[in-house]
Symmetry: C2
Subunit: 187 residues, 2 copies
């Protein structure tokens, strides 16, 4: 496939924007979560543990966040020392270590989740409902195309099959979680 300079301007602008938009989001998230004593990565670990259910195996968190087991171990060690999570033994197999969120972790995660969701809604507020749907559909296509580029052998079904239901579930759980946080905040 030949690069076509005539068509390239919008494509280059997209290339630049996909990186810089996410960078800008990351800077905002760092600000928001640090107000609740969490790094953005620590927030991602706690939120993932919330979605996947309690207690959670470290390997499941690493898989969900697409992180190596090594870098996940370091992060978990730091979060245990910070008192955000703790290690527990699996009741059915005591050799297996699992993780649970501590009450300190919970009391950071709840307001951080609400603050993050408020940020996303604020940033998205100039976009109509239709625009948001279009944006999600376009990003979905691009993420899929990039995965195909990385794994040319895999079929569509293999790529979509394993993630789609888990993502839907993630969304449902996070919405439930934030609405229970919201009603608690009202009390």
């Amino acid at each position: 496939m030949k690069a076509n300079p005539g068509l390239a301007n919008t494509d280059l602008r997209f290339w630049y924007l996909i990186h810089r938009t996410r960078d800008a989001f990351r800077i905002c998230e760092d600000q928001i979560f640090s107000k609740h004593g969490l790094s953005t990565e620590q927030y991602a670990v706690l939120a993932t543990m919330k979605y996947l259910g309690n207690p959670t195996r470290p390997t499941a968190i690493a898989r969900w966040l697409e992180r190596s087991t090594n870098s996940m171990s370091l992060m978990i060690e730091r979060m245990v020392r910070a008192g955000l999570i703790k290690r527990v033994r699996d009741k059915s197999d005591r050799r297996v270590v699992q993780l649970t969120i501590t009450s300190k972790g919970e009391s950071a995660l709840r307001p951080a989740t609400l603050a993050g969701l408020e940020f996303i809604q604020k940033v998205l507020s100039p976009l109509s409902y239709e625009d948001r749907h279009t944006l999600v559909a376009l990003l979905d296509t691009l993420k899929y195309e990039a995965s195909k580029y990385m794994n040319p052998g895999e079929t569509t079904q293999e790529m979509m099959g394993s993630r789609a239901p888990r993502q839907a579930d993630l969304m449902k759980r996070l919405v439930q979680y934030t609405s229970s946080s919201a009603s608690e905040a009202k009390r």
Copy 2:
């Protein structure tokens, strides 16, 4: 502003996708640029030097890439040792150090740029011309909203004024650069 769980599903999906789409792009880019002996960050430095003109001051590169001067110094040191760039003295003020791309750097940057552009065009290929324009406009809005969130004091003009012309220029230069590379590749 109150988080509204009823509206949240598309918004959460966007939040997830903006991070994961860019992650997927980054993994592809790492693969592509490493074939030309460059890390993605080294590629970004070389491409920025190309846009900003030759020779370039380290601070100008850091500003463009929104990196700290410290982390930029480390990266530049490594790239000088790898023979991709070299330090030169400014002719009008010999105290000022500037950087130029070496011929080794040039011969990595040219094919890497073409390969990167081919990747972007391939990934964008299922999207119509209109969809690409819509996507760029939506991302532009979101990047602007995120900047506003980070810097609530700045006016629109301050935020847009400094970057918009430089971005347009960047695009023009990269297109010129890739088309000269493409015609060289044909020879």
